[in-house]
């Protein structure tokens, strides 16, 4: 019960972080909100693994832990080039 409440709280912080996706102003700010989803989603998985007594969720979290960073790396290397102007997008 406590653990479900903790997971709900983490979900609420993720939803609050979505405001940064709407406000921007640069693309990187939006990408950082995605990184926040990665960390908070990982924490939610770990808490639910304890709360719902499903230890296999820890294995999923182990695979999940690098996905958000792969997304950020791909974004920096492939999308967010030096020249293009994205301040207003």
């Amino acid at each position: 019960m406590i653990y479900n409440g903790v997971a709900l709280f983490l979900l609420l912080t993720v939803i609050a972080g979505m405001v940064r996706i709407i406000k921007g102003p640069t693309v990187a700010d939006r990408m950082m909100a995605a990184q926040l989803f990665g960390t908070c989603g990982l924490a939610i998985l770990l808490v639910l693994a304890r709360g719902m007594d499903m230890p296999e969720l820890i294995d999923i979290a182990l695979a999940f832990s690098l996905l958000a960073t792969l997304a950020t790396m791909t974004f920096v290397r492939r999308t967010w080039y030096k020249g293009d102007d994205d301040e207003h997008s």
Partner: protein
């Protein structure tokens, strides 16, 4: 409720404070560098405290090893991506907030 359970709950509650401050920092800080600071530090301390709390309650050592491995991977990954984003932002001439 034994001592491990309650100590674990204490650390999980402390982790919630750090997660909350990370999100508030992401929403309230003025520019991209300070937001990176809030995101990649506060959230990882929060995750570390959460993993400490869950490790105290874990049934066996394999679970503890997996949890600590997750934390180390996240530390490595988030510091790498923080440096990448900050360096690319500097290359794109986004001025830090204090220098404006």
């Amino acid at each position: 409720m034994n001592i491990h359970e309650s100590a674990g709950l204490f650390f999980i509650a402390a982790a919630m404070v750090f997660f909350l401050s990370g999100t508030v920092g992401l929403l309230r800080f003025p520019d991209i560098y300070t937001r990176l600071h809030a995101l990649t530090k506060a959230d990882n301390v929060g995750l570390g405290l959460l993993i400490l709390g869950l490790s105290l309650q874990a049934p066996d050592w394999l679970t503890v090893a997996k949890l600590i491995l997750i934390w180390l991977l996240v530390l490595l990954a988030s510091s790498t991506s923080c440096h990448l984003v900050a360096r690319r932002a500097l290359q794109k001439d986004i001025k830090p907030w204090a220098l404006k």
